[in-house]
Symmetry: C2
Subunit: 147 residues, 2 copies
């Protein structure tokens, strides 16, 4: 160990969050391979399904993607018929992205499995504990909106 003592890696928030995500993503990745969309497209669909039509900047932020990545992803998703894009008439620089029936169907097709994966994890981890964890994560995101 170095002289200046850092926290144990298990108590390092960035590392702890990354390990937790790897833990949780295992079964989710298995689900996604059968869905025809990757993790990123799945996030885009989820965010659009939840928040309604969004411009790309906001969509990128909520889906944790860079704008250049999103540009490429949306091109593919448009080709697959999962989303549509339209110029915002109020500000013609903006492009508004809308989920289509095809996109909604992708979510619908995997919603049961997604819920089941979560339910299994919650059963193993504890319902109350899970709610507390999600509360704390939400609060963390509020503390530092992006910095």
């Amino acid at each position: 160990m170095t002289k200046t003592s850092l926290r144990r890696t298990a108590r390092s928030l960035p590392i702890a969050l990354l390990r937790a995500r790897e833990t949780v993503m295992g079964p989710v990745r298995d689900m996604l391979v059968s869905s025809g969309v990757n993790e990123q497209k799945w996030r885009v669909l989820r965010v659009l399904d939840e928040g309604g039509p969004l411009d790309q900047s906001l969509l990128a932020e909520r889906a944790c993607l860079q704008l250049p990545s999103l540009t490429r992803i949306l091109r593919a998703m448009e080709d697959q018929g999962m989303v549509t894009r339209a110029t915002d008439p109020a500000d013609r620089r903006r492009s508004i992205v809308t989920i289509s029936d095809v996109g909604r169907q992708v979510i619908e097709d995997h919603a049961q499995e997604s819920l089941a994966i979560f339910a299994r994890l919650e059963a193993a981890y504890g319902r109350e504990r899970m709610e507390t964890l999600l509360d704390l994560l939400e609060e963390l995101n509020r503390v530092t909106p992006d910095a």
Copy 2:
């Protein structure tokens, strides 16, 4: 929204973990640009500094890296003099990785700043809340070791 209601994305554990990590990594990334190592190398150094010499499989798991990625990263880190590698005499398939003084110095050089970043976040978020969050993340990693 689709008919089968999934959780709000803020209550989706994979998405919540990803957003939390993005939130937390902002200042950490700023620190790392001045350190000469990227996120992945920093994790490798932290894990080695904490756990002592490790074989590559274990190191990969603890640092959340794939073995092929680790192979490439270690080659670079060996060239930079941050780590050394030696064949395990007890099992000559195994390669044991050890952090060097140079590697330890990289950690030492940024330990203060790393602690300060954490302290600021903790102050904004709440000390007790932070401890609870870290406890819950540790427990989550114990529930499902990797599945």
